[in-house]
Symmetry: D3
Subunit: 242 residues, 6 copies
Amino acid sequence: MNSTESRIPTLLAFGAHPDDIEFGCGGVIAREAHAGRPIHFVICSHGEAGTNGTPAERTTEAKRAAGILGATVEFIELDGDACLEIRSAHTIKLAAILRRVRPALVLSPTPEQNQHPDHWRLGTLVRDATRLARYGGLAELRDVTPHAVSGLFFYALGSGSEPTGQSPVLIDISAPEIIADWTKAMAAHASQMKTRNYVELQLARARVHGLNAGVGHAQPLWPNDPLVFGSLAMLARSAGRF
Amino acid sequence: MNSTESRIPTLLAFGAHPDDIEFGCGGVIAREAHAGRPIHFVICSHGEAGTNGTPAERTTEAKRAAGILGATVEFIELDGDACLEIRSAHTIKLAAILRRVRPALVLSPTPEQNQHPDHWRLGTLVRDATRLARYGGLAELRDVTPHAVSGLFFYALGSGSEPTGQSPVLIDISAPEIIADWTKAMAAHASQMKTRNYVELQLARARVHGLNAGVGHAQPLWPNDPLVFGSLAMLARSAGRF
Amino acid sequence: MNSTESRIPTLLAFGAHPDDIEFGCGGVIAREAHAGRPIHFVICSHGEAGTNGTPAERTTEAKRAAGILGATVEFIELDGDACLEIRSAHTIKLAAILRRVRPALVLSPTPEQNQHPDHWRLGTLVRDATRLARYGGLAELRDVTPHAVSGLFFYALGSGSEPTGQSPVLIDISAPEIIADWTKAMAAHASQMKTRNYVELQLARARVHGLNAGVGHAQPLWPNDPLVFGSLAMLARSAGRF
Amino acid sequence: MNSTESRIPTLLAFGAHPDDIEFGCGGVIAREAHAGRPIHFVICSHGEAGTNGTPAERTTEAKRAAGILGATVEFIELDGDACLEIRSAHTIKLAAILRRVRPALVLSPTPEQNQHPDHWRLGTLVRDATRLARYGGLAELRDVTPHAVSGLFFYALGSGSEPTGQSPVLIDISAPEIIADWTKAMAAHASQMKTRNYVELQLARARVHGLNAGVGHAQPLWPNDPLVFGSLAMLARSAGRF
Amino acid sequence: MNSTESRIPTLLAFGAHPDDIEFGCGGVIAREAHAGRPIHFVICSHGEAGTNGTPAERTTEAKRAAGILGATVEFIELDGDACLEIRSAHTIKLAAILRRVRPALVLSPTPEQNQHPDHWRLGTLVRDATRLARYGGLAELRDVTPHAVSGLFFYALGSGSEPTGQSPVLIDISAPEIIADWTKAMAAHASQMKTRNYVELQLARARVHGLNAGVGHAQPLWPNDPLVFGSLAMLARSAGRF
Amino acid sequence: MNSTESRIPTLLAFGAHPDDIEFGCGGVIAREAHAGRPIHFVICSHGEAGTNGTPAERTTEAKRAAGILGATVEFIELDGDACLEIRSAHTIKLAAILRRVRPALVLSPTPEQNQHPDHWRLGTLVRDATRLARYGGLAELRDVTPHAVSGLFFYALGSGSEPTGQSPVLIDISAPEIIADWTKAMAAHASQMKTRNYVELQLARARVHGLNAGVGHAQPLWPNDPLVFGSLAMLARSAGRF
């Protein structure tokens, strides 16, 4: 990954398990990849607690899916699948990655607590890490230049993990090649296809959001902070047509 | 006003009283005017119930302020200052204006009820009117082609009228010429300067929002509907630095 | 309609326009009809402000759709399509219908204000009317015995009109014959099929809710008041599987 | 406890301290016990940090109270009274209990943070544990078959710990024998009767909820996930009469 | 009523029906009356739509209850019981009363919409009227000096009408003579005692709030605006003991 | 510190970093100090992770600032700057301080999670500690008499950390000597003045709150629990004038 050569700043996406990024925001990833944006995935377990798929299988699937989406991928060890805890050592580890990758934009699971225990804890850790990444005096991170991200956005794996009382932004992912790449990336997680209709669920969710937005498909993201715009020209579309 | 000749689509701002637009979103207006966007004000009373200023004075002040901001202005009669009611006849009247002016973007006071009675009622009426403007079968509006706006945004005149449980977007209004124009437009409402520090209040609010956003000054707007973006490239800045 | 002969109490559904009930809660209606529950529709306009379909066509479509769902239907005049106002005369008119039909359960559009102006106003009127229906001293309603409904539930026509900060209950509508009847009833509104994918939107929404609930399809309803149960035996299923 | 012989599935209630279950949802427990449902209590401390009562006394009181309510009871060690932390080891321990007891319904303190520190932490742990209980690959739980509960409900010990922005369901506990058993079970915690009017508080809360529900007494529970119903026939009563 | 002679400023309480004030905030009224504060009631109907009691009986009961509480009382005509509408003429009428009575503190039903239709409308009208009371230019009110109240507080008649997402303040009404006066004032509404346990409900609500506050009984009020204090010395007690 | 000799009970303020108290609630502190209230600061790190200032410099600055405000100050070790974790050992340590200092009022950063990771964790710990401080049986705290505080209030360092869905109380800090002391105390943190306009931000925030409250400057505090008042006489001012 060499984001400094690119003119579009890097997007960094965190996932607690090998398939979270694809199912939660894979359409957005595909959209950005088609625009030439460098993309990097950080996956915080090998899915070893899941009902289906061995860690080795799931690692292979995640690499294949990242390849389809044009992203690089790395795996890190925190506490293991289904065992994640909120510890400052983790926050610092994630902040170190943020300083190394130096992304403009960061994607993470939401910190809403009524979902898989790893998801909300990772969302909390990533939010904290984006702050630590820019504090200059942290002894543990002394060797890496501080870095401030431009925006942190949360993705949801289902309606239960969507933040309440906050509006999402909708990203238009209607282009056929984007839907195709996204679907292919989700399907790459073959071990997870056995019992649940995850692919169908995510496509149906994106279709509902798309119809609301007046486009084919859309994925919602929840900004961690108020968005700042230089003018209204960037805000020329909004949903709410039905 | 000849928005069809312009390449930037028109912005239409509604105010319940002659000074609402300037105090609530005048910085945003100045910013858009400097970008060459056609701007039109619709003011729904002459401020005749206010403690200071005659209707004639306030009309003159509003025209002067609009001129400073580069906006055209029209006054309409609904129920009179402090007497606004929510009636479908008003909604249809506002929808007719929307069809005539055909703006891309609409600004209105928030519909939050704990503020001046005219403000929340006008916010409710404008929201309803943006929907009626695009329904084809309305007998009263038969002669004008339906029109769908791209975005409806609410402005707040103080923290009491800011929507709770919803994040604003922040518009950067830091450029000195924008602050200058905005301040001048607010000061044009000379009759309102006698008893309250409205200008100072709005500049302080914009400074607080600006410091949060990492810029000089910013004004908040609340989108009525989720915003739709073609890619993340448009979302490259967010607040939350302190 | 002769609800007194039936052992299952009547369901009364209100719609602002000829197709609202079918699109907003048609699956629930089909489910109840299959259980033998008497169902009555009250439609408060002929859809005369809509872009497509004449009032006569839409009335015919609504009657056909009600027939498919096994419901009786009546049309009432309030203020006309897109012109509904909140007036106590309307509340009393709706309360009189509640006293005549004497339903156990009532369905209505949500009173959330960011949707079609008629929808939230009708939701507000119906909520008020369920209270007036049980007050004994109303002069205008003196001739009809007061009636207290067992439950008022709101339906949403899209995600924009779903109540925030309140959980829905999900009704399982997965049985093939129910999906078939519901789809057929929506399709009966042929004049509305020209420009928007309403049927697909509602089926996709119901599929997303169904997958969340661990069933095929489900429709959400929002109870107006806390639900009361005689024991936990009735609460043996909940969503949240993904 | 032999829930497989019973035709009514087991109810499992968690308490952080020896008296939490009785004070927070004892009326519901009594109601279910009278219906013949097997009930099991898991108590996560011996109340050793409380102002009154020794651990031995409180254990005895809890056993007596459980006996009155017809429940079996076990005590587990987490971090001790007033010292509970959110650790994945605890979540796994609770998930193991869920797999062993295999309840349909689970009761737990709410995760609202403005209450006794142990209560919200236990609520968080129980919510997470209900998810881990159904994941197939957890090494620590390999020997026990995964188990999915039908519903997780939270109980509140006072109005400060009631979830905001979410409606409860109300369980009718008006029958005299239920009120009698519940009162007796609360009074079994004799060591806690010295300084506070806990019994009176809970009876008054239940009376207020009951009057709202149109019954004698009712206790509120907050479902963790949207409830799923096969038809509206199960929803024939709701509160809101005053 | 001669509030100018009194050193404690007047309290003005609005009720939609003859018994609303007593049941919703009668304990607070009794507390203030015992402190020597002048109190005035404005009742906006004669309860003519209620199930029990004639308008004449209810008027007599209200006068007796006001007498017990040491309040003066006046009846005004708006639209009649159960028929209240939100009209600017009403707002102006209420504003005129505010200018005449010139209270420091105002009590009104909450504007929460899920309650008796007259209650939320009156709450909305009173909130708007407190603003109009201080605008200098209103033609209809030209003859009366503008007046700004110090605080507007809402009272709730039941838990369904309590504002969500906002904390109440609790007023200690534990003194025996206050409970006695309040109970007597509620009981003065003899016609309303026939079918519902209103007195018991309100006493139980006040007992629950009192136990939470560490006192005998307390009644909740919801301030319309943030409270302003000169120092922390006034904030020396808060609830949350259980 | 000798709070027993003073007739005004002690105020105890917690800060995660050497400057948090001054920037978040320094005006309130100055106001109380001028009233003669004993004030004690507990600072939980030496700011060693900050971009500017050495721990020694920052300790010196904090002592100077406390001196300006008339407060005593102590530093405690938890996990170090930017590394704070939520542990019961910390809660007990804070509870022990509460029992030693025995304050009536406690100030702490809010527990809102979207801010500096140390702030929300400290807010959570302090809230929990105020409860543990009054439980009689805690072995670790056996040697110190339990203590119940009268009120816990949260302060916010910026709008991002203000609690949503809850109204603040506003403390009037307009007196020139209070603004002067507060400004001087903020400026004492000279190392933090290099890159950000913290002093200007806080003064602008206080000015906006002051103008809303109808006074010069005001600082908001969020009570952890409903406030209890003996009568309405203490509630004679509220904001909401614009």
